[in-house]
Amino acid sequence: MVNLPEESLIVVKNLRKSFEDTGDVGVLNDITINIKEGDLVSLIGPSGCGKSTFLRCLNCLELLDSGHIRIGDVEISRASVSQKPDEHMLVTAHKMRTEVGMVFQGYNNLFPHKTVIQNVMLAPIVVKKMRRAEARDIAMKLLQKVGLESVANKYPSTLSGGESQRAAIARALAMNPKVMLYDEPTSALDPELVGEVLQVMKDLDSEGMTQIIVTHEMKFARDASDYIVFIDKGEIVEYDDGDILFTNPKNLRTKEFLRHFTGTETAVNC
């Protein structure tokens, strides 16, 4: 975590975000972090701490209030919340979204009126103006990668939760993103389906994909991440290698938060 900004794929500086209607929930206070290409980073923290907001700011689903975000060559900066977003900023935000793939919580985010393969083909055709045949080839390869080639022509309503999330990952990958973001991708799944989704993320990691995951799967966070970031009350409290953070957290708040999970941790380890 001593990366210089120039070497990092993702650079976030003094990121702030607040909401008019939700009070303190989901607020970000001055987040600064750099993430190297190929890293798998887990974000953990109590609910309402701002970890989801952070992801949504990264791909500009929420426009930052102030600060600076750079992903690859795309940069967005805002001096303060009073600076009205101009055309340039909106164009940059849109560009950012095309560079970043995102998978959401819950499993009904596939487009229900399209088959699985049509879901994967849609964005390349619409956004990148890719030819259908080419999009279909790419989509089929991605579905094979996530193990869904057999359901390519089914509608999403027939898929299990785990299959849906894997399809969602394939759909995001079809845009060939620089970074994949996951907002609690397994929290709505039956326990026996969690593994197949996490496995896809591990595979992607071994291929060198940069991934940021908001998760409550502590075992996965600890085993698979390059490092874990603990966020509380809109701030990064602590980040470190999984084993170090779990066994020897420096900060009292981290310790407090992790105590809730040690029970399960032990159980899993046994």
């Binding site: 979204r97 009904n108 985010n109 849609l122 619409v126 309503s157 969602a168 995001a172």
Partner: protein
């Protein structure tokens, strides 16, 4: 989307083309009247419902022949004959229009072609009503906005019921809903002169003068009409027409100073009476219903045309309204919301009248088809907009986010993700709405279009048969609505299939098999 744009473009082109002013009648005499229940003035020939007959039709033919012009008939509801004249739908109006001071304020009248009086009619067995004064505290029926209505209201204490269709008044008299009926004598003769259940009582009441109405501006035409009228009177042509129709009376003898005996047989009246004496044989009735089919067929085609055009307008402008309400800047959304509430909150009938008779005042003249289609279309657009809006809100926000996160623009997300899903939700209620639009299209009969409802009024009035003709027209409405009902069912089934991926969800009636009432 391209298709929708095409439809809009075509619709716009049609509106522009069809709203061009009609070429002024050069050698054509356009005359306005109401053929619904219009005997003996003008009505469809019972033997051939495509042909318009009546003593006024004969007069117009005679007059046009004298003026060397081609008559062209324009149908309008009787209430609206004078507004229609002012709007330029036709050059003259002749349909029992009475010369009254009120009428004379807005139009010019030719010299009269017929003078008559009001005839009181009661049931055969009624003994206590023998003149107008006996009508006090009784229920009396008459034609809406007629001289008779005025006379009854001046009498006071009379429970006046006004009708649009003459025949139904006498029907109500015969079946006891009314105690008496007061009508212009020709109507009385042709409605009840041959009806054994009804008798005429009392002396002639009042004085009614019929004349041809021409707009104030059209002095030239008025002179021509008067010239023709004098010629027809002096040459005995008018007398001949009245004889044939059985309408020559002592009042007319005085008016035309012609006391000679009848020269022509009452062929037209006899024909009428023969056809309208109660108790037709069954086969004759079937023959009659069959003869109605071409007229009903044409009317059904018009009903369908108006309804489909209106629905296309409703579907497209409803979508625009819904998108404006949900996505546009606040002030545009407010205008759209106000439009929706206005169209939903005011009667369709008034909207149609406003578009057809009101808008020409500010220079927007739509022909009757487009006035009807646009009126219906905009009214239903308000309802469709609400359905779309519900459809849009039925799509979860996560769908938006998923689309945007894939790099789509707002418009792309709308087009590829949100609208297709919203359409799935709204197809059944929109099809439903179309079925109800099909029925509401009956209101276009009020702006001179001869749709199914108008055809029903005309034919039922002509034959004095509201029962059999009514069943017939009901079935025709059902039949033309059927494909849309079936489409609605099909769409519902299809969508359920997509949700269940082929499993027949709807086929299994959960309510019937798995639950108990008690």
């Amino acid at each position: 989307m391209k298709n929708i744009a095409k439809v809009i473009a075509c619709a716009a082109a049609f509106i522009i083309i069809s709203s061009l002013p009609a070429l002024a009648g050069n050698g054509v005499l356009r005359w306005g009247g109401d053929s619904e229940g219009g005997f003996p003035y003008m009505f469809p020939n019972p033997a051939n419902t495509d042909e318009l007959i009546g003593f006024e039709v004969d007069i117009v033919k005679e007059m046009a022949a004298y003026l060397d012009m081609t008559p062209e008939y324009v149908n309008n509801s009787w209430d609206n004959l004078i507004p229609g004249l002012e709007r330029g739908l036709y050059d003259i109006s002749i349909n029992g229009l009475e010369v009254t001071p009120e009428h004379e304020e807005t139009v010019n009248f030719s010299i009269p072609y017929y003078k008559t009086f009001l005839q009181l009619a009661v049931r055969r067995q009624t003994q206590d009503i023998n003149n107008l004064d006996d009508c006090r505290e009784r229920i009396v029926g008459t034609l809406k906005e007629s001289y008779a209505q005025m006379v009854l209201e001046e009498l006071g204490d009379v429970d006046v019921r006004t009708y649009i269709v003459e025949a139904s008044t006498y029907e109500d008299l015969a079946n006891g809903r009314l105690d008496a009926a007061l009508f212009d004598s020709p109507i009385a003769i042709y409605s009840a002169g041959f009806n054994p259940e009804i008798k005429f009582v009392g002396p002639p009441i009042g004085e009614i003068t019929y004349a041809v109405a021409v707009t104030k501006e059209n002095k030239e035409l008025l002179t021509k009409v008067n010239e023709a009228m004098v010629h027809m009177r002096d040459s005995g042509k008018l007398r001949e027409i009245y004889d044939r129709w059985g309408l020559w009376s002592p009042v007319m003898a005085v008016e035309f100073n012609d006391f000679s005996p009848r020269r022509t047989e009452m062929t037209r009246y006899d024909e009428w009476a023969e056809n309208h004496r109660p108790e037709l044989t069954f086969s004759k009735k079937i023959e009659r219903y069959r003869s109605m089919l071409p007229t009903f067929g044409e009317a059904a085609a018009l009903t369908l045309e108006v309804s489909i055009t209106a629905m296309l307008i409703a579907i497209v402008s409803g979508l625009v309204l819904a998108i404006a309400r949900v996505f546009a800047p606040k002030w545009i959304a407010l205008i759209a919301a106000a439009f929706v509430e206005f169209m939903r909150g005011t009667p369709l009938l008034i909207q149609l009248f406003f578009i057809f008779y009101g808008l020409p005042n500010i220079g927007i003249t739509l022909d009757r088809f487009w006035a009807g289609a646009i009126g219906l279309g905009l009214n239903y657009a308000a309802y469709e907009a609400e359905i779309y809006r519900a459809g849009l809100f039925a799509i979860q926000q996560t769908q938006w986010e998923a689309a945007l996160a894939l790099g789509m623009t707002r418009w792309q997300a709308m087009k590829e993700v949100i609208l297709p899903q919203a359409f799935r939700v709204v197809i059944p209620p929109i099809t439903n709405d179309f079925i109800s639009l099909l029925k509401d299209s009956s209101l276009v009969s009020t702006i001179t279009l001869v749709d199914l409802t108008k055809a029903y009024g005309q034919l039922a009035g002509t034959y004095y048969d509201y029962f059999g003709t009514g069943i017939m027209v009901a079935f025709i409405y059902l039949i033309i609505g059927l494909p849309f009902v079936m489409f609605s069912r099909y769409a519902e089934r299809k969508l359920a299939e997509q949700d269940k991926d082929g499993k027949k969800g709807m086929a299994h009636n959960f309510y019937r098999t798995s639950t108990r009432w008690r």
